[in-house]
C-alpha cells in the first residue's frame, strides 16, 4: 500500500526527505498517511489537545458543539486553562474542525459555552485569519506568498491554483472541492513554495505541479 501511495504522488517534491535516496523509506512512512498522522477526535493527550488546529475534509455545518469524543476533547481543552475565557481560541478551532468554518451562529454558541459575550467572541474570531468566517470547500488550499515563497514564485503557484480550480481567492469551486487562498508564512520557508492543504503541507510546489496535486485530491475525494 505504501508503494501505491508513492506511485500516486508524481509531483516533484524534493522537500520530502523520503525520496532523496538516502533512506529506504516511503513517503507514508516518513509522514504518515495524512501527512500529520492519525488524529483521534478526542484529541489524545491533554497536553497537545489545544495546540493543533485540524482541518478535516468532512465538514458538517450542523454538527453539535460538542458531542461524544469532541465533548471529551472540549473538556480536555478547558482543563488546560485557568478560566473559560482563556480556552476561547482552541474552542473555536474545535468548532471549526467540525463545521469547517466559524459562522455567526457558531460564535454565539461558543460564547454561550464559555460564558463570554457574543461580541467578544466575534472580535477574537475576526482578529485571526485562520478562522474561516465563510464556508470553504472540502480542501482548503493555502498558498504562501510571503518572502521566501514569493522569491521562488509563490504568486505564480497561487495563480495556477486559481486557474485550475476556476475560482477567485476565497471562493468555493463549482464541484465544492476547493477553496484557494493566499496566506502569510507557513514556516516552511526552506521549501518554497509551501502550500497547506487542509492539515497537510505540500512543499517545493511549482505551477507545473498544480494539476497533479488537484487530480490527486479529486481522486481522494471520489
Amino acid at each position: 500500500m505504501s508503494d501505491e501511495t508513492t506511485e500516486r504522488a508524481p509531483f516533484r517534491n524534493p522537500g520530502w526527505a523520503g525520496n532523496t535516496g538516502e533512506f529506504e523509506l516511503s513517503e507514508d512512512e516518513v509522514r504518515g498517511r495524512s501527512y500529520v498522522g492519525e488524529h483521534a477526535p478526542e484529541g489524545g493527550h491533554p497536553s497537545r489537545v489545544p495546540t493543533v488546529p485540524y482541518m478535516l475534509p468532512e465538514k458538517d455545518p450542523e454538527a453539535p458543539l460538542f458531542e461524544g469524543p469532541y465533548a471529551e476533547r472540549f473538556e480536555k481543552i478547558l482543563s488546560r486553562y485557568p478560566n473559560r475565557r482563556a480556552a476561547l481560541l482552541p474552542t473555536l478551532n474545535l468548532a471549526q474542525e467540525l463545521r469547517g468554518r466559524v459562522s455567526p451562529e457558531t460564535m454565539a454558541e461558543v460564547a454561550q459555552l464559555l460564558g463570554l459575550s457574543d461580541a467578544y467572541v466575534r472580535g477574537v474570531a475576526t482578529f485571526y485569519t485562520m478562522y474561516n468566517k465563510r464556508p470553504v470547500g472540502r480542501y482548503l488550499i493555502q498558498v504562501c506568498t510571503n518572502v521566501s515563497c514569493n522569491l521562488c514564485g509563490g504568486d505564480e503557484v497561487l495563480a495556477a491554483f486559481l486557474e485550475h480550480t476556476g475560482t477567485e481567492a476565497g471562493e468555493i469551486s463549482d464541484d465544492g472541492l476547493f477553496t484557494v487562498m493566499e496566506v502569510e508564512c507557513l514556516a516552511a520557508c526552506g521549501f518554497p513554495t509551501a502550500v497547506q492543504i487542509n492539515s497537510r503541507y505540500f512543499e517545493n510546489v511549482t505551477p507545473d505541479d498544480v494539476p497533479a496535486v488537484l487530480d490527486r485530491l479529486r481522486e481522494e475525494a471520489s
Binding site: 459575550s117 467578544y120 466575534r122 475576526t126
Partner: protein
C-alpha cells in the same frame, strides 16, 4: 529625620521645569493635569481602565531609555518629565500623521467638529500636509441602534467605548472586529447597543466624531452652543449636567463631572428628556380673571390686586406644589402658606417601577422618583399624593372652597373646572393648561432652566443650578413672586437673589441650616440630618 519629614504618600517631581507634589500612585498625566498641562491622550479616560494603546501621551522622562506613556507611568520622587521636548513633540506629530492616514477629514459635516480631539491635536502639533499616497480605506457608517450612529472612518481606535460598555455598563456589546487597518468597532452583527440604558455616554467619551447622537445629528455646531451648568431634572439622582443651548433652546444634555454623584456619566432616560424645557406654550404675563374675564396685566398691578384680595381676609389655605420646583420656590410657597395662616401642601410625583443603576458605579442610578426635588418638598413638610404617573390625588382639592395656591404642577390631567369653587385660586407656573388658566390669578413663573436655584437629591445632597435659558415675557422665579407676596403679608424682606431665597429656606427647614450657596458650591453639600429629639 529629614526623610521622614515628608508624608510617605506624596511624591515631588518636575514637569516641564515646574515642581509638583502629588500623592504616590498618581500617573504623570494626572500630575501634569494638576499643573494645568493637558497631555494629549485618546485611550485614557479618568473613569475607565487605561490600556495605554493610543501612544499619544508619550513623554520624555529623564533617565528612561525611551518615551513613556504618561497615562500609566506612575510618578517617582525627583523624576524630571518633559512633555514638550523635541523628542516628545516629534513623536506626537508622527503618531498624529498615522491617525490621519485613513481619516476622511470630513470636519465640515462632522458633529464633533469644534470639540474634536483629533482636530485639536493635529491643529496644535500635526504636520501641515499628510504624506500618505495610498487610497484611504472606507468603512462608511453603521447604525448601532438606539440613539447611536457610528462613523467608522473617523474612529481613532481608542476603545473607550468598548471599555465603557465592558466596565461601566457591564453590557459588553461593543468590540474591536478584524485587525490591522481593517479594525473597526462593532457589535455582534446586527445586535447594536439598543436598550442599554447608559449607552449614550459612549457618544460623550468618543474623542472624535465616530460615535454621534442621532438626536443631535447636524442640529448645531459645537461652537454655537453655550454650556450652562445645571442639574438633571429627570430623577432624584440629580446628575450634574450642562445644558447645551443655542438660540435660547436646549439642543442636548451632557454630563458634568461630579465624582460623588454621577462621576462622568448620565443615563439615557435623563439625557433624552429635555424638549419640555423648550416648550412654547407658556404663561407669559400675569393674568387676572375677573368673573370669567381674563385680563392680562403686569406684575405690580397683579400683585397689588392680589394683595388687596388677601388683605380682605382669607379662607383656610391649601396648596399644591411640584417636585420640579427648586428648594427656594418650595420654601417660598411654604412661607406664603404659613403667612396666610398655615395649611396642607401636597405634591404629585411620577414614579418608575424600578431603579436603573449603572453597574460599574452603582451609586449612580436612575432613581424611581422621576423628579429632581421630591426630597426638598418632603423636607419642607409637603405630602405626596396621587399615583405613579404623577396624576390623580387632587379630586378633593378640585372642589375646595377655601384659598387654593398651586405652584408649578401643570394640572394636565384635570378639567377646566378645577378650583372654580375656591374662594381664591392662585396659580404660579409656566404652562397654561385648562385647569391652570381658570385661576383668579395666573402668575407666570420660570422653569428651573431659566432660573438659579437648588434641588435636594435622593441622598439629601443640595445642589445648585444656574440659568441656561432666557425666560419668556414676564415670567419670574416663583421664589420672587411668592416671596414678594409673603413679605407684603408679613412685612419681612423680599429676597433679591436666589442665594437670599435659600437663606430664607434655611430659616424654615433645619435640614438646610448652615448651608449657603457658597458652601454648596459646584459640588453640592449634604443636608443636616434632622436631629432626633430625645425620647421621641
Amino acid at each position: 529625620m529629614a526623610e521622614n519629614s515628608q508624608t510617605p504618600e506624596s511624591v515631588t517631581l518636575t514637569i516641564d521645569g515646574r515642581a509638583v507634589t502629588v500623592p504616590k500612585g498618581t500617573t504623570i498625566l494626572q500630575a501634569a493635569e494638576a499643573l494645568g498641562n493637558r497631555i494629549p491622550h485618546y485611550c485614557y479616560h479618568p473613569g475607565l481602565s487605561a490600556p495605554a494603546q493610543c501612544r499619544l501621551c508619550l513623554v520624555e522622562v529623564e533617565g528612561a531609555p525611551k518615551l513613556q506613556p504618561s497615562c500609566i507611568t506612575e510618578v517617582q520622587d525627583g523624576q524630571v518629565v518633559l512633555t514638550e521636548s523635541e523628542e516628545a513633540t516629534r513623536q506626537r506629530t508622527g503618531v498624529l500623521e498615522f491617525y490621519l492616514a485613513n481619516h476622511p477629514l470630513d470636519c465640515p459635516i462632522c458633529d464633533q467638529s469644534g470639540e474634536c480631539k483629533l482636530q485639536d491635536y493635529v491643529h496644535a502639533e500635526g504636520r501641515k500636509h499628510g504624506r500618505s499616497r495610498e487610497p484611504k480605506r472606507v468603512f462608511g457608517r453603521d447604525d448601532f441602534g438606539g440613539d447611536i450612529l457610528f462613523y467608522g472612518d473617523r474612529c481613532v481606535m481608542c476603545t473607550r467605548c468598548v471599555r465603557f460598555m465592558n466596565e461601566m455598563a457591564q453590557d459588553p456589546r461593543l468590540t474591536v472586529v478584524e485587525r490591522g487597518n481593517r479594525s473597526i468597532i462593532d457589535t455582534f452583527f446586527e445586535e447594536g447597543v439598543e436598550g442599554s440604558p447608559y449607552a449614550g455616554n459612549i457618544v460623550d467619551i468618543c474623542p472624535v466624531g465616530a460615535l454621534v447622537s442621532k438626536d443631535f445629528l447636524h442640529k448645531a455646531r459645537a461652537w454655537d452652543l453655550d454650556h450652562k451648568p445645571t442639574i438633571c431634572p429627570n430623577c432624584s439622582q440629580g446628575c450634574n449636567i450642562d445644558l447645551h443651548v443655542r438660540d435660547n433652546r436646549v439642543q442636548r444634555l451632557k454630563p458634568r463631572a461630579n465624582l460623588e454623584v454621577n462621576q462622568y456619566w448620565m443615563c439615557d432616560y435623563g439625557r433624552h428628556r429635555y424638549e419640555w424645557m423648550n416648550r412654547d406654550d407658556r404663561i407669559e404675563s400675569p393674568v387676572v380673571n375677573r368673573s370669567g374675564q381674563p385680563v392680562p396685566s403686569d406684575w405690580s398691578e397683579a400683585l397689588e390686586a392680589l394683595h388687596g384680595r388677601l388683605e380682605e381676609g382669607v379662607r383656610p389655605v391649601k396648596a399644591v406644589a411640584s417636585p420640579f420646583a427648586s428648594n427656594e420656590d418650595l420654601a417660598a410657597l411654604r412661607h406664603l402658606v404659613d403667612a396666610l395662616g398655615g395649611g396642607e401642601i401636597v405634591y404629585r410625583l411620577p414614579r418608575a417601577d424600578r431603579e436603573i443603576p449603572l453597574p460599574g458605579f452603582p451609586r449612580l442610578s436612575r432613581r424611581r422618583d422621576l423628579a429632581p426635588n421630591g426630597r426638598g418638598a418632603e423636607i419642607l413638610g409637603m405630602e405626596r399624593v396621587g399615583d405613579d404617573e404623577g396624576a390623580g390625588g387632587l379630586d378633593e382639592l378640585a372642589h375646595y372652597t377655601g384659598t387654593l395656591v398651586v405652584l408649578g404642577d401643570e394640572l394636565a390631567d384635570l378639567e377646566a373646572d378645577f378650583g372654580q369653587q375656591a374662594a381664591l385660586y392662585i396659580y404660579v407656573g409656566s404652562h397654561p393648561s385648562p385647569a391652570a388658566s381658570q385661576a383668579d390669578y395666573l402668575l407666570p413663573a420660570t422653569t428651573f432652566a431659566e432660573q438659579e436655584g437648588t434641588f435636594t437629591n435622593h441622598e439629601g445632597r443640595v445642589q445648585r443650578f444656574w440659568p441656561g435659558l432666557q425666560a419668556p415675557g414676564l415670567a419670574r422665579p416663583a421664589w420672587l413672586v411668592l416671596g414678594a407676596l409673603a413679605a407684603r403679608m408679613e412685612g419681612g424682606g423680599v429676597p433679591t437673589s436666589a442665594a437670599e431665597a435659600f437663606v430664607q429656606a434655611a430659616e424654615l427647614a433645619p435640614e438646610f441650616q448652615g448651608l449657603t450657596y457658597e458652601s454648596i458650591g459646584t459640588r453640592g453639600a449634604i443636608i443636616n440630618e434632622p436631629v432626633a429629639l430625645p425620647g421621641a
